[in-house]
Amino acid sequence: MQYLLMIYENENVMNDMAPEARGAMFAEYNTFTQDIVKSGHFKAGDALQPVATATSVRVKDGKTITTDGPFAETKEQLGGYYLVEAADLDEAIGIAARIPAARTGTIEVRPVMVFDGSM
């Protein structure tokens, strides 16, 4: 079986952290990742960019409707995910609009965080 582990947390808590505390947390994430890689559990994992970078995509009557912001409806639940490589947000939106659930629900498009080593 494969499982998607979804990390929910308050962004502000992280932003308000002192640099040392944040460093310690990153180190802990690193250790954890290495551990589950070694144990053979790891398939894929990423940090996401802040929620302010989110875009929601829906398709209604064949028309793609794009809105700023995360998906905020409580009637629907996270039902799956795709991790895709795209040249830019327009391409990612185009792919998101082809997911069948775009017609019945919403696809939230969030860029994956890239750590450049300076953090």
């Binding site: 960019q49 802040p50 302010a52 970078t53 989110a54 875009t55 028309k63 793609t64 409707i65 794009t66 809105t67 700023d68 912001g69 795209a86 040249a87 830019d88 947000l89 327009d90 990612a92 939106i93 498009v109 860029p111």
Partner: protein
């Protein structure tokens, strides 16, 4: 001439900033890779002028001076930036800056600058950006308004507006919103979104709501300037012409819409001699061109209605029959209850009051305009014309319960007193 009065320098730079901000910024965003860096270069260039001109005098061609300064600052940036650490990449980028800034483009848009301006317009009005942030970004980057000016126009404090702008610039960079003109398959939908933003800018200034009169007037002017730019950038598209015509025609009446006491003057009672004839003459050929779109779109049709009003020497001579026909076309192309309401009024004004009233009743029965004060207001107006004063009074009262705007409220109250 050595030295220049600080006032002259300030005024010249303010004007240049407004006129040139978008044109200087547009290629820089492409060359430097993001809005923030590009804006810093523009700021640096203007700051250099602010320091040197009072001492050295205003240069003979201020625009060329600022463009040259921006070019030099951009090249400095590229040489210092880690993005261009590779020498070959650096040289390519520098050459590209030279190409984009020299020879200094004059009033005519060069092909390259036209593309950059289009990129800028489409990126500022990207649908992944919240609509109020699209407005702010458009005014700030394309129109060269300051954050304080935009804040005042939208009645929020400057800090909030500054945060809104920073947030959107960060989103563009972090989410990978591309700096390019959409492909043919998306162009129509994206252009519609751009025109909507322009329309909102104009309307924010035009609608008789709260706010400083001067600020609102300048928003109308910016709306018109933006629409002119898009007409120039996309000369083969009819819809921007429709929007520009609509703005020009609406704006031609602005001095007569409100009387000395600030009370609303409806179209029928406006002093037509004070409508801006030159602006109307400019708009009419644009309406013609916009109507050639297949099918004509909403702005073209609204502009055509406005043109018929503008062309009637007296209110009684308005061609209501043709106005009703235009609303019928619009209703077919993009059905909406507001268009149906307008059509009903036009039918009534063209002579068939009973049919107009029936159509309004049908609309009301459907409940789709239940909170819209102009529905009972329109009914009240028609009943008043028929001399059915008691029914009219009841409808005016219903409209008063829904109206939110003070100017319109006073108008309805006056009508209620009269019947």
């Amino acid at each position: 001439m050595l030295g220049a009065a600080p006032n002259d320098v300030g005024a010249t730079l303010d004007r240049l900033f407004r006129e040139e901000h978008g044109r200087i910024l547009a290629p820089l965003i492409r060359l430097l890779g993001d809005f923030e860096r590009a804006e810093e270069v523009v700021q640096d260039a203007f700051e250099a002028a602010m320091q040197q001109w009072p001492v050295e005098g205003i240069p003979e061609t201020p625009r060329a001076w600022v463009l040259r300064a921006a070019r030099n600052k951009a090249i400095d940036r590229i040489r210092r930036s880690a993005r261009f650490s590779d020498k070959r990449k650096e040289l390519e980028a520098v050459a590209e800056v030279e190409r984009s800034f020299a020879p200094p483009p004059d009033e005519l848009l060069t092909e390259g600058l036209r593309d950059d301006m289009l990129r800028l317009v489409f990126t500022c009005c990207h649908p992944a950006i919240a609509i109020e942030a699209q407005l702010a970004l458009t005014l700030r980057t394309i129109c060269g308004l300051t954050t304080e000016e935009i804040a005042r126009a939208f009645l929020v404090d400057a800090r909030t507006m500054a945060q809104r702008i920073v947030r959107v610039q960060k989103k563009i960079a972090a989410a990978g919103i591309p700096y390019r003109v959409p492909g043919a398959e998306d162009l129509d939908a994206r252009l519609e979104a751009v025109l909507h933003v322009l329309y909102l800018v104009f309307n924010e200034g035009y609608s008789a709501s709260a706010g400083d009169e001067l600020v609102r007037r300048s928003l109308c002017a910016e709306g018109i300037r933006l629409a002119e730019l898009v007409v120039e950038l996309l000369p083969d598209h009819p819809e921007p012409k429709g929007l520009l015509a609509l703005m020009l025609l609406s704006d031609s009446r602005r001095d007569t819409r409100v009387d000395a006491d600030g009370d609303l003057v409806v179209l029928e009672e406006q002093d037509r001699a004070r409508w801006d004839r030159a602006q109307i003459e400019r708009a009419l050929p644009l309406v013609e061109a916009a109507l050639r779109g297949r099918p004509p779109r909403a702005y073209a049709l609204q502009a055509a209605v406005a043109a018929l009003h503008a062309q009637a020497p007296r209110a009684e001579e308005t061609d209501w029959r043709q106005i009703a026909a235009l609303y019928a076309v619009q209703s077919r192309i993009s059905p909406s209850p507001v268009v149906e309401l307008n059509q009903a009024v036009a039918i009534a004004m063209a002579g068939d009051v009973a049919r107009g009233l029936r159509q309004i009743d049908a609309l009301e029965a459907r409940g789709s305009l239940a909170r819209y004060h102009l529905l009972p207001a329109a009914r009240a107006d028609l009943l008043r014309r028929l001399g059915r004063n008691e029914d009219a009074a009841a409808a005016y009262r219903a409209a008063l319960e829904l109206v939110g705007n003070d100017v319109e409220r006073r108008y309805l109250e006056r009508r209620l007193r009269e019947v």
